[in-house]
Amino acid sequence: MRVVQRIALAAVATTASAAVTAGFVIAPAAGAQTRASFIGRFGTVTTIASTVPGNGDVNPYGVAVVTHSQGKLHRGDVLVSNFNNSGNFQGAGEPRHGAAAPAHRFR
């Protein structure tokens, strides 16, 4: 058994206007200093998967990468939580992973 400290964040939500994945442009921010950036090395957006599970929940908000394998989770898996249910009702999405885990899992 190990004890860890974790930080929680305040509950929030945001709007969900209609949009689809778009092209993208690398550009320095206005007034930015010249400096090697982390994101500047990337130039491609690939859609990994739909985040709509079998129950129809929508509006993915939280995303996390599994850093330690445990149970059904494997290092490198990605967990996503949906905020809305299939009727687009805010806050009613069921976080899922398989049948009973906290989020939807992608591998």
């Binding site: 305040a10 945001t14 969900a16 209609a18 930015a32 990468v65």
Partner: protein, 162 residues
């Protein structure tokens, strides 16, 4: 802003041991197009500083000594405000400790150094009106820093910038 002390075991759910308020006073409000808007993304830097996406104030703040402090730092100190930020929501820490945030207002990913310099932006979504608004929320750095995962709240997809 709360720090939760958990006991984690291999054979059961985590158990809550203690709760400490380490930040407070951030702006928040309800919104007809959202449920609540307030401080959203957080990320712990290598120095033990907690970075907060203060969405309402359109800034990133820093709460020092977040791992050990035993009292609230208020809203912390402002790392950066305005500029390329446009309602920052999700926040993640990049290798090297730069701060990554995604905007609710324009679909951009913004990289900021711990010293407050906004060094890069990357448009991840430009659809809708205003372009990209409301599409981004959560993000996470891929293993070994090989990219940035992000969810598209409007398209209902998990995407990878790489």
């Amino acid at each position: 802003m709360l720090r939760l002390l958990l006991t984690v075991s291999d054979d059961g759910p985590p158990r809550l041991r203690a709760v400490t308020r380490i930040g407070s006073g951030f702006g928040e409000h309800t919104d007809p197009a959202a449920l609540v808007i307030g401080p959203t993304g957080v990320g712990l830097g290598g120095s033990g500083t907690l970075y907060v996406a203060d969405t309402v104030a359109n800034r990133i703040t820093a709460i020092p000594d977040a791992v050990f402090r035993d009292e609230s730092a208020g809203t912390g100190t402002t790392v950066t405000a305005g500029g390329a930020l446009n309602g920052p929501l999700g926040l993640a820490i990049a290798p090297g400790d730069d701060i990554l945030t995604v905007n609710s207002g324009d679909g951009n990913l913004v990289e900021t150094t711990p010293h407050g310099s906004q060094v890069a932006t990357h448009q991840l979504d430009n659809t809708g009106s205003p372009p990209g608004a409301g599409a981004l929320f959560g993000l996470a750095v891929a293993p070994h820093g090989h990219g940035v995962y992000f969810v598209d709240d409007a398209a209902n997809t998990l995407d990878l910038l790489h």
